[in-house]
């Protein structure tokens, strides 16, 4: 029985994936001529073992977490917000502007910068939904393309109107101390931004349990059913993208106010896309996503450590993450098929039993 329960839980996919991801990372570093043991040690030293390591993990985890939550909200409704990268840039842009130009104490400027980031992400994120509802434009294509437009707009602003003078590179000025997330432990990047992350996870968890969350799930199951039961599909689509965009904006906002402090065209290494992987890995559920983001964050922090100690290319983290994702997807599929096969066998057995009973019943009547 415990084996059966394990088979049915999402863990059945996650644990083998984590093990395979660790094996793949060992193999990759071995190819590059680094001992796998030192790679595994790097997970501890770079990601967990000290306050600065915890900070590194938080920095690597948070943008992925918000991006993944953003994707999960639309994904639950069977909609694809592939444009989180753009919402992230727009969020970071709004937070930069507020951080730079609103001269006020921390209690005012920090919340204002965070809210501005959410609103900017929401505004950018709602566009694909409006185009879909209004003209039937496929949201996958439009949200993806809007991302590129957002990144180029940011690139233009930070090499023009927002450019920090005298640097010679496209980059905004650094936001003042008052606009930054304060550190929990001095000298570590572990900031109070993790509190925002915790609140976001809880809110998304709650959201999925509200009537609106149920609407999302129904719409995700079948658009026709959603129509039949009286769900306003257009409204649900727009609200889902608004929430998703706000979370995407938050990803950029928190990274800017908690880690980078200034905006550049290379602000994000693709968190918006990796976040989709995290959301899928976390099975689209709030706490699953939190664990998956932490897992990816640890790999990321270990990669930074290995780059520092062994001059290993940090790209290896990306390979490990992609492999983990594919393994989990295949694992979940396999699990689903096993469950399906078993339930259909049970159904067949039940049917056969009923036939026998009917035959027996018929026999007594005759």
């Amino acid at each position: 029985m415990p084996a059966k329960r394990l088979l049915e839980s999402p863990l059945a996919g996650a644990i083998p994936a984590a093990i395979i991801a660790l094996l793949v990372s060992g193999l990759l570093v071995a190819i590059a001529g680094v001992s796998p043991i030192s790679a595994y040690k790097a997970i501890w030293e770079g990601g967990l073992g000290s306050s600065s390591a915890l900070g590194a993990t938080a920095v690597a985890t948070l943008p992925l977490l918000f991006a993944a939550l953003a994707f999960a909200v639309t994904f639950r409704a069977g909609l694809y917000n592939i444009g989180i990268e753009g919402q992230l840039y727009m969020g970071a842009l709004a937070s930069t502007v507020v951080g730079l130009y609103l001269h006020a104490p921390r209690g005012v400027v920090l919340p204002a910068a965070v809210i501005a980031g959410m609103l900017a992400g929401m505004a950018w994120g709602i566009l694909p939904a409006l185009l879909k509802v209004w003209r039937g434009v496929n949201e996958i294509v439009s949200s993806l393309f809007l991302s590129y437009i957002a990144i180029y707009i940011v690139g233009w602003l930070v090499s023009g109107p927002l450019e920090a003078p005298g640097l010679g590179v496209a980059q905004s000025e650094v936001i003042p101390e008052a606009a930054r997330f304060p550190e929990i432990i001095a000298g570590s990047k572990l900031t109070w931004a993790i509190l925002v992350a915790l609140v976001a996870v809880i809110l998304v968890w709650l959201l999925f349990r509200t009537p609106f969350g149920v609407d999302l799930r129904v719409l995700g199951g079948s658009r026709r059913v959603a129509d039949y039961v009286g769900i306003d599909v257009s409204r649900t689509t727009i609200v889902a993208f608004a929430i998703s965009g706000a979370l995407g904006g938050l990803a950029g906002s928190v990274e800017l106010l908690g880690n980078q402090y200034s905006l550049s065209p290379e602000f994000s290494p693709g968190w918006g896309y990796t976040g989709i992987a995290v959301a899928v890995l976390g099975a689209g559920a709030a706490w699953g996503i939190a664990s998956a983001a932490l897992f990816f964050g640890l790999i990321g922090a270990a990669a930074v450590e290995l780059q520092f100690t062994e001059q290993l290319s940090p790209d290896f983290a990306v390979v490990v993450q992609a492999v983990a994702l594919i393994v989990v997807l295949l694992g979940l599929k396999l699990q689903g098929q096993l469950l399906l096969r078993r339930s259909s066998r049970q159904a067949m057995e039940a049917e056969a039993g009923a036939d026998q009973a009917a035959a027996a019943g018929g026999a007594t009547v005759a």
Binding site: I153, I276, A322, I326
Partner: protein, 303 residues
């Protein structure tokens, strides 16, 4: 003007290969978000192999590498019936990581961007000195000359040849095709692997056709631009070539505007392909011509 047109054709060439490849897979009903990954892998394989074994081996390696990533996409989408968007994005992530990792491994950290042997432009004597359009049409990398017959061949295949028409059926309504005895899985596998090989060659057209080097994430969204071209062209091959040329023009305009001191920020010009495609989609609305079965996993025997 002369230079602008010439640069536009040069910039459009890799896009044409990738877009034609993507069209074949999408015609068969498999989404091609992963074009970016095929192209990036192809671009890297071309440079890495050209470095040691010459340009033709590099070209072959690009086609094989793109085809291999596509084979993975085919397996995940067709056999395992995973979500095609997620599979595509996962493979793009994988391609980004593996090319970056291998790049630092092959050329050594800090040696990225090492120049390797590449295809040099082929100047056609006489014709290339025609004013204005001469250099654009007759002084280009060999890839450009190959792109034109390829586009015509793909178009002919789509509209005039039996397997091409069958491919339509497979993409529009796989169950109906299957009842007519069409091996849907085989068609889809072949289409996706072919698309990967062509997109890989598109990557080579960029890496050993124009720049002769590889840098991390060098395709920088060109796979998605090719996807934009496909959507913009309503899944028609010759229109897709036109869209690629238009997007190539936007690319070239960035360089020219800079050279001519025209005060348009290049970043805003760079958004042109995306803006134009979105506007086209708004105008087309629901009348877009996407294949009916696009993105839907096919389960044999299911209704």
């Amino acid at each position: 003007m002369t230079e602008l047109l010439s640069n536009a054709v040069t910039a459009a060439t890799p896009l044409i290969f990738v877009a034609l490849g993507g069209l074949i897979a999408e015609r068969a009903g498999i989404l091609s978000i992963s074009l970016e990954g095929y192209m990036l892998t192809g671009a890297f394989a071309a440079v890495a192999i050209s470095h040691t074994s010459g340009i033709w081996a590099g070209l072959a390696a690009a086609a094989i590498a793109g085809g291999l990533i596509a084979l993975a996409h085919a397996f995940l989408c067709i056999s395992a019936r995973l979500n095609q968007i997620i599979s595509g994005l996962a493979l793009n992530l994988f391609a980004l990581g593996i090319t970056g990792f291998l790049n630092s491994f092959v050329f050594g950290e800090g040696q990225a961007g090492t120049q390797v042997p590449g295809f040099s432009p082929l100047k056609i004597p006489g014709l290339s000195s025609i004013p204005v359009v001469g250099p654009a049409l007759f002084d280009q990398p060999p890839f450009t000359y190959a792109a034109v017959p390829l586009a015509i061949a793909v178009s002919f295949f789509f509209w005039k040849m039996r397997p091409g028409l069958t491919l339509h059926a497979v993409g529009e309504h796989p169950a109906a095709a299957e009842t007519r005895g069409v091996p849907v899985f085989r068609y889809r596998y072949l289409a996706v692997v072919t698309s990967g090989a062509l997109a890989g060659i598109g990557g080579a057209a960029l890496s050993i056709g124009i720049l002769d080097s590889f840098t991390d994430n060098m395709t920088a969204g060109r796979g998605y631009i090719a996807l934009a071209a496909i959507v913009f062209a309503g899944w028609r091959p010759l229109w897709a070539v036109g869209a690629c040329l238009l997007f190539g023009l936007a690319d070239a305009a960035q360089v020219s505007a800079n050279a001519l001191n025209i005060n348009v920020p290049f970043e805003l010009l760079a958004t042109a392909p995306y803006v134009v495609t979105i506007i086209a989609l708004i105008i087309l609305g629901r009348r877009g011509r996407a294949p009916g079965g696009l993105g839907i996993p096919y389960l044999r025997g299911a209704r």
